[in-house]
């Protein structure tokens, strides 16, 4: 049943369009760098100044650029739509007629949203890698520590970075899923989810509330850059993923409590 849901979700025109747009962002970035010659050292977003020397960095720069807004935006669309979308279309009733039960349906929806998070981040990396490979030379990847990795290891770390970026959106996806069970208006759920992400990012920028900073789900979104150090620093990535698990536990449980007790009228 999960497979059927996964296939139908990724066949939807909207999801395809979102993934395509995400892949286009680093590609566009690469084209702009190709045309303009790229920023000089120390200018622009992290990794962008390396793109002209090594196309792999188009993918990393793409992740850096999309992580604060584009990626969470699309995750909010998919997560916010997951339950509320079915409810608004009137198809939720028919899904619940099946003997699978509400808990199982919620789990399948959650897993699908999670798969989208990973696919979205991988789409960014893939778009960057393809455009970077076409427009720029590929070669050894310079780490932040001034050492270099073989091309294969560099691409491997880039894809791992994408997976970590995708996984660090799980907490936000869980919030979106919970909000989606609260309403029958998918747009409302999407907007509220994005609102939480913006709120979290804003709080993260205010030093007076430093005490809550470790608990913000947006805090570890850039931790993937620790993969580009030598030696790789896992502490921040581990903390980020643990925090995402905590958010998934709390908001997943809340979504379950809501969805299994909700009156499904539509």
């Amino acid at each position: 049943m999960w497979r059927a849901e996964l296939v139908s979700q990724f066949r939807r025109r909207r999801v395809k369009a979102l993934l395509l747009v995400l892949a286009a962002v680093p590609a566009l970035l690469a084209v702009l760098v190709y045309l303009s010659g790229g920023p000089s050292n120390g200018q622009g977003p992290t990794f962008l100044d390396e793109v002209t020397r090594n196309g792999v960095f188009a993918a990393l720069a793409g992740l850096t650029v999309t992580v604060p807004f584009f990626l969470p935006l699309t995750v909010a669309v998919v997560a916010g739509d997951s339950i509320a979308g079915e409810a608004s279309l009137g198809t939720l009733r028919y899904l619940l007629v099946r003997p699978a039960g509400r808990s199982r349906l919620l789990l399948i929806k959650a897993a699908t949203v999670g798969a989208y998070c990973l696919a979205a981040a991988l789409a960014v990396a893939a778009g960057g890698l393809i455009a970077g490979a076409i427009l720029f030379p590929l070669g050894r990847v310079t780490t932040l520590s001034a050492t270099s990795l073989s091309l294969g290891a560099g691409i491997g770390r880039t894809l791992l970075a994408a997976l970590i970026v995708g996984a660090s959106l799980f907490g936000m996806a869980a919030i979106g899923l919970f909000i989606s069970t609260l309403t029958d208006v998918p747009v409302g759920a999407m907007a509220a989810t994005i609102g939480f992400a913006v709120l979290s990012a804003v709080l993260g920028g205010i030093s007076q509330v430093r005490a809550i900073h470790p608990w913000l789900f947006t805090k570890g979104w850039f931790a993937f850059s620790d993969l580009l150090r030598d030696p790789v620093q896992w502490t921040a990535i581990g903390k980020d993923l643990a925090l995402q698990v905590a958010y998934m536990a709390v908001f997943g449980a809340a979504a379950w409590a809501r969805f299994t007790t909700k009156d499904v009228l539509a």
């Binding site: 050292n41 030093s207 620093q233």
Partner: protein, 399 residues
């Protein structure tokens, strides 16, 4: 129906239960870490001797530095000093004035060191290997290659070099360097005692407590944790008066006593980087300033935190002619700099400072829990870990 309504409500306890589980997982390791390891009691004197006898060890570890000077936000200051996100270097010494910083450290023998300061999506490395010192800034991709002239000792010239002031190796000291400076200050001005041993970075450590007698000092006490086996200082914490948390904390969060791989100390400028070559200790070297005579002022670890003395990248070379004067001794020493030109960007910051005037003249006081700075209208700047009134007295007493 009643039972179904109750089960509905019960389900809502699930998210709260999940939150409680998360809180417990976070809290439990913190509780067990508070245990004090059992170590044979030794006197403060024995511990100090142990520290003074410490031999250079090979190690790899992580050093954390936390600064809490009771100042809300210094980003404006660090931007004015040339840091910030836009095109500047990844690291600016004023960044260390607030928040937490992490550095990886590798030591092998007397002439191999690597320090990697971990910044947000950036890194600053300093690699010392034999006669070469490399510095690397991942944001600007700038490499500076210092070659140490054969006739000079490896470390001393680096300290006096004008560039070294903005050098991360200078700002992030190993606990050993910092502790040595404190221990050099021990004399009748200080009450020395021992605190309960702690576990730190996987090692059992003794704790030495130093408290100044002088009332005008802003320092309440300093705690130095010393590895019970190797005698290596593992952590230095400076507590300011009236502040519960350490104002300054510098210590290992992980530590392994093993010789790091030789490749750790190999440095090759990556493609695309710009390399500046400099010579240290050579007679023909114009960029190298002589070793600062005011080492007394330098020995005060708090003077490091002074933004004006260190952070200005456009420091007027003529100002170097006016050597700082030191008034007072030990804990209460005050460094007075003359002819300091305040960068224009800092003017707004200064306007927020408290204006003061008296027989010593007119100026403004920048206060923090640990370091106070008195900026006089006549261009003199007094810095010290003393109360504002003590600063004024020092300015009045200065020649």
């Amino acid at each position: 129906m009643a039972s179904s309504a109750r089960s509905r409500k019960l389900r809502w306890s699930a998210p709260f239960a999940a939150a409680v589980v998360v809180a417990l997982i976070v809290a439990i390791p913190g509780l067990s870490a508070a245990d004090s390891p059992s170590l044979p009691a030794i006197s403060a004197q024995q511990l100090i001797t142990k520290v003074q006898q410490v031999k250079p060890v090979d190690l790899s570890g992580t050093i954390n530095m936390t600064t809490d000077l009771g100042i809300p936000n210094l980003s404006a200051l660090s931007n004015a000093a040339g840091g910030g996100d836009h095109g500047g270097p990844a690291f600016s010494p004023t960044d260390l004035l607030a928040g937490s910083h992490k550095a990886l450290v590798w030591l092998a023998g007397p002439d191999k060191t690597r320090v990697a300061l971990q910044l947000d999506m950036a890194e600053t490395d300093v690699v010392h290997n034999g006669n070469n010192i490399w510095t690397w800034d991942s944001s600007t991709k700038k490499v500076v290659h210092y070659t140490i002239a054969a006739d000079t000792k490896p470390t001393t010239p680096a300290r006096g070099d004008a560039q070294a002031a903005t050098d991360p190796a200078e700002a992030v000291k190993t606990p050993q360097q910092l502790a040595d400076e404190f221990l050099a200050n021990i004399n009748p001005s200080t009450a020395v005692s021992m605190a309960a041993p702690i576990s730190l970075a996987g090692q059992k450590a003794y704790q030495l407590v130093l408290a100044p007698h002088a009332g005008e000092s802003t320092v309440d006490h300093v705690v130095i944790a010393v590895d019970s086996v190797t005698g290596l200082p593992l952590q230095v914490q400076v507590f300011a008066k009236g502040q519960k948390k350490a104002a300054l904390s510098l210590g290992f969060s992980s530590l392994h006593y093993s010789t790091p791989a030789a490749s750790r100390f190999a440095f090759a400028p990556p493609p695309g980087s710009t390399v500046t070559n400099k010579t240290l200790g050579g007679s023909h070297d114009a960029t190298t300033a002589p070793v600062t005579p005011g080492t007394k002022a330098q020995a005060d670890p708090n003077a490091k935190a002074d933004p004006k003395a260190q952070a200005d990248p456009n420091a007027n070379p003529n100002a170097k002619a006016d050597q700082p004067v030191t008034v007072g001794q030990d804990w209460t020493s005050v460094a007075i700099l003359k002819g300091v030109q305040i960068p224009r960007q800092l003017n707004d910051f200064l306007k927020a400072a408290t204006p003061v005037s008296g027989s010593f003249g007119q100026g403004r006081v920048l206060e923090s829990s640990l370091v106070n700075v008195l900026v006089m209208d006549d261009g003199r700047v007094a810095v010290g870990a003393v109360s504002a009134s003590a600063l004024e007295a020092a300015v009045a007493a200065a020649p």
